[in-house]
Amino acid sequence: MAAPVDSVGKPTAERSPFNSTSFQKKTRSKLISIPGTRPSVQNGQLLVSTGVTSLDYLLGGGLAVGTVLLIEEDRYDSYSRMILKYFLAEGVVCRHELFVAAAQDNPDDILQELPAPILDDVAIHKPVDQPRLSCEPQDSLDAMKIAWRYQNLPKVQSALASTSRFGHYYDVSKTMEPEIRQAAKCHRFYLPEHPTQTSSYSALLKSLQEVIHREGFDVPRSRNILRVGLHSLGSALWGDDLSCHDNPRHSHALTTFLYGLRALLRSSLSVAVVTVPSHLIQDRALMGSITRLCDNAIALESFKGSERETNPLYKDYHGLLHVHQVPHLNCLANQLPDHKDLAFKLKRKQFTIEGFWFECSHVGATKNKHSSAMSAKEDNGPSPSPLID
């Protein structure tokens, strides 16, 4: 049998010495094996992770390379910014290249706020919140009290070099180490540094095209992916009056940009996440055409500041997530999520998105002390089974 094409030229760095199995899939397919990507089980498209595993599931396994994800911002731009940071952090961990553009904050500030990835270790039995009573030195041999037979086994996936994993988890309370961040190549576009007479969007598009061409992402034999993060397009700081006036004068500026962006992405190995402050854009038809021009579209609605914040129905969650569009790439129908009412919660180590069921016992809850005590006892399991872990 002829030797498979891939294994001959396989770079040694990809085979982590800590693999628990030496099995290598012999494949002669034309799929390029780029770290951090995997083919979709539905239509064979190359997918990348958005950094949020729940969102990957919603989008059908991940974000397809060459597509645009539109995130409609929540009112105070807290959660949409968080998802953008997850996306960029995932790019750093998978060793992709990054392109960050912003008009309000310096891209360097956004890059410094990226969350730290959680590295997988073998579970070490460590009593976290109890005081250490044993006074013997805690060296690595005594680290495990009960599972000590497994101490000498190599740790699985402890280094970031194991990029064979798809989708990582991040700890929001810590920022990424500067060494890890600087290992990734980042291209920046900060609008105040590019004072142009022409539209700022065309300057951005030109800059992106130049980066793609210079780094060789549009060449057929390219081996890496460019992750493009565009923050708050359509806001007034981009020189656009879409969000200021009900009838904007240059309503085509953003739509032409998105059209050009999608053309650029389809012809290169890149993927983009765009956030738009849709709560400021009053023209619904314009918002609809912006949604159509992007492949995936989700909208975040945070409970902060609305009357829903104190509603007991929503007390476990931080906001609602609406999926406005899912693409069908190279196939006839698309995979919509089973459940249409989705709510999200930002926990320290995970951004969870769950289907949300309305419990009948909560409706009509009176402020009577007696009945509220009763409903508290029935309240053991209001959280529905999540869509994924």
Partner: protein
């Protein structure tokens, strides 16, 4: 939260007081100016809507002298050739030049009365850009602006407030001289806090904050009632005291060996046990052919 804001915005802060025709926010703006002047800060006011005398009512004379008022009231569009401040001078370079002229060592707080006037004559994206540049730049430490929310489209008000670090929306209160302030504050870490307070302003421009509105208190009582502790009403005890925890740590579990035995077991574990298997004729068990009578 209103009192915290009155005590001074931190640097780079942009505060907006949003009012409407039913309740004016200028008195609150004057209270902010008064509080800042009492702290001996350098204040520059761009006055478009009211004259200097009217703005200075209620301020003590010494405070009034320390206030730098840029007169944009008499001739805001520059029709006569006065040396007044015009609305077209609202740009980063000119404002920085204006503010640096006074040669004050302290960083300056810029008060804009009002942003609505500027938005009427300069396009909103340009205003947003200038405000963002002022927020970042070093000449101005903080900006306080008055915005009449009912004079503009929702998108414009939303865009300007999106840039602000704190927004106070003033609405008429129950009694005559009281007003309700809804405050939204965004910290640098992205955390958003909100509050609602009833306040009134005295003659000498000090703000008295009364209790919060009653419907807000009612809502806050509810969520606390529903959180019951599941370990509270049980017939058995689920918690550990300190002595109990120490005893638990000391307990010798059946497979907890001493350190020497552990190392002995760990290091000898390689290659000592091997399984030797010689396949037997009876072991040739084919799942699909249990009777072994297929003619293969």
């Amino acid at each position: 939260m209103l009192s915290e804001l009155l005590q001074g915005t931190d640097s780079g802060g942009f505060l907006i007081i949003q009012d409407s025709s039913s309740c004016t926010g200028r008195h609150l703006l004057k209270s902010f100016i008064n509080a800042a002047l009492n702290r001996e800060e350098a204040i520059h006011v761009l006055g478009f809507e009211v004259s200097e005398e009217e703005l200075g009512e209620g301020l003590t004379t010494s405070a009034h002298q320390r206030l730098r008022f840029h007169n944009a009231y008499t001739d805001p569009l520059g029709w006569t050739d006065n040396l007044a401040f015009t609305v077209h001078q609202f740009g980063l370079e000119e404002l920085t030049h204006l503010v640096k002229q006074t040669s004050h060592p302290k960083p300056v707080t810029l008060v804009i009365d009002s942003l609505s006037w500027i938005l009427r004559h300069v396009s909103p994206p340009v205003v947003c850009k200038t405000l963002q540049q002022l927020k970042r730049g070093g000449a101005v430490r903080a900006i306080i602006g008055l915005l009449h929310a009912d004079m503009h489209q929702t998108g414009t008000v939303g865009s300007i407030c999106h840039l602000a670090t704190s927004v106070i929306t003033v609405a008429p209160g129950m009694k005559g001289d009281e007003a309700v302030a809804k405050i939204t504050k965004r910290s640098k870490s992205g955390k958003v806090t909100q509050d609602e307070e009833i306040f009134s302003i005295k003659e000498d421009l000090t703000v008295i904050i009364q209790s919060k509105p009653s419907h807000l208190e009612h809502k806050q009582a509810d969520p606390e009632e529903q959180q019951t502790d599941p370990t509270a009403n049980l017939t058995f005890n689920l918690r550990l005291s300190d002595t109990e925890r120490k005893a638990k740590e000391k307990l010798a579990l059946p497979f907890m060996f001493s350190k020497e035995k552990k190392t002995a077991l760990l290091h000898s574990g390689q290659g000592s046990g091997r399984i030797l298997y010689e396949p037997d004729a009876n072991d040739d068990f084919d799942q699909e052919d249990p009777d072994d009578d297929l003619d293969v």
